[in-house]
Amino acid sequence: MVTKTEETQLNRLENQVDNGGGGAWEYLCLVKKLKVRRPDKVLRHGLSILNDPKKRSALGPDVWTLYEQVSIAAMDCQCLDVAKDCIKVLQKQFPESKRVGRLEGILLEAKGLWAEAEKAYSSLLEDNPLDPVLHKRRVAIAKAQGNFPTAIEWLNKYLETFMADHDAWRELAEIYVSLQMYKQAAFCYEELILSQPTVPLYHLAYADVSASSIGVITIARLMRNFHLYSGFCGRDTVLYTLGGVENTLLAKKYYASTIDLTGGKNTKALFGICLCSSAIAQLTKGRNKEDKESPELQSLAAAALEKDYKQRAPAKLPLLTSALKSLKTS
């Protein structure tokens, strides 16, 4: 999990390293610890360390994990020569290692030789049939080929044994979302919430999946119009789909819990509250209001949004106010 302080620390270090200040090794360690994907930076700074014999020897045995990190980053940048050289060095040092064998498989993947990579993984699996990473790589192969049904099949098979692996659950959820299979994705997100109940981003994603279909158009428009700076946007943006009053109520509850867990600093959750409230009002129009909804939450969320925009993006404030007004009247 990347917390706010860690993020600022990472950005500070990145700035410092990019501008020629020291601390490249600290930066690489932090990237590895936080598991963020910065292949170009890792490649550049990692290579600058590895090519300097003095710095390299200062690392001691840590140099081998650096070779691994750099080789994966190089594959991510499609600099296959560098990756190959790194793996060669590792192979010389650890001739029989399975971890290096895995890296070779990944290199085959990066080259796009799916069948060969598959073969390499299968032969490694024969030695150690319970290596979780190898199973995960097979899923990744299927995914990289765009073969989502197979990827789901592999993942399900993997999760049957390793059912406490939340990374795998998350991957499955994201695949389901990309295939618009929201019901299945909702199940996976429930599983993630169970394993880490205090991570607001899972609550948020769950709310997104289970909110109403009416929201799809509205929120898509909103996303286009506004610059969202909450951390959780972009690729992970899941739109509302399951629909119905019940699911919208559910979504609203989870948006509320996200607000509580982030101290109201997550822009998307605030938008979610506004949208859900208006959708609920629309859906229950004409019906007797049997359940007491908190109307205050919506206005509070709107006020919080306005305050946030005033602070961070004053130019976009008129857009926001008009959109919120249209939400209220519709």
Partner: protein, 246 residues
């Protein structure tokens, strides 16, 4: 009152220091021997799966209030139903598990190796200490102690008049045996410390039955009361936002 005993410096040079050095060396030797003998055993998929099921069920129990009642009930049925629930252990199988564990030759072999690497050096060193150094007063600790420590510090000396702060050689051996763990973790790295006390604990834990913990998890999942926490969160979010806006 006991007068101060004068300990020969030769005792220090030929009993106290050699004993400690030998204990450290034996500890290191044992670490490498057990590392050599450790067979890389392939874990049984069934056991891995059972462990994961337990973790997941525990997560469900801990986080139950964060998911809607419908989802919780569905999961509980999935875990606990009597036909093919994940936590349900068929009756006949439960008794077999233990027997199966004992009959597994690999398992028995591993236990043997572990035991051998622990017991043999211990008995040998104990015999060695007993043979050469029994009856020595090897050291004196610099602070007074009560009579209760006599059996701990003066093992092998049957004199009730000697001040308790004197340590007999056999007791010095025992002190080293149990007290060198910190040193080993310094020499061999944190997790490699060969720790006899811990290993003895593991010994008693042998015969651990996964089906039993599955059953226990099932029982506690069965009796859990589901109380959805999310409606409360709406009010909490309201107060959070009020603070933020106001």
């Amino acid at each position: 009152m006991a007068e101060d005993l004068v300990l020969d410096t030769a005792i220090r040079d030929w009993v106290l220091i050699p004993l400690s050095v030998v204990m450290v060396l034996i500890g290191i030797l044992r670490y490498f021997v057990s590392k050599l003998m450790r067979s890389s055993q392939v874990p049984d998929p069934k056991i891995v799966k059972e462990g994961q099921v337990i973790v997941r069920a525990r997560n469900l129990r801990a986080g139950a209030n964060f998911i809607s009642p419908k989802s919780f009930r569905a999961r509980r049925v999935y875990f606990c139903n009597e036909e093919n629930g994940l936590l349900h252990v068929p009756k006949g199988q439960a008794q077999n598990a233990q027997a199966q564990m004992f009959s597994d030759p690999n398992m028995a072999m591993d236990m043997m190796k572990k035991n051998l690497s622990m017991i043999i050096p211990q008995t040998l060193t104990f015999a060695w200490v007993n043979f050469f150094f029994s009856g020595f007063v090897a050291a004196k600790i610099p602070f007074p102690l009560t009579q209760r420590f006599r059996s701990m510090l003066q093992n092998g000396i049957d004199l009730s008049t000697v001040d308790v702060s004197y340590v007999s050689s056999r007791s010095w051996y025992f002190l080293n045996l149990f007290g060198l763990r910190g040193l080993f973790s310094l020499i061999l790295g944190e997790e490699n410390a060969t720790d006899d006390t811990q290993r003895m604990m593991q010994m008693s834990g042998f015969g651990f039955d996964p089906s039993k913990s599955l059953g226990a998890e099932k029982d506690s999942l069965d009796i859990i009361q589901h109380e959805w926490a999310l409606p409360k969160f709406e009010q909490r979010a309201e107060t959070v936002l009020k603070d933020l806006v106001g």
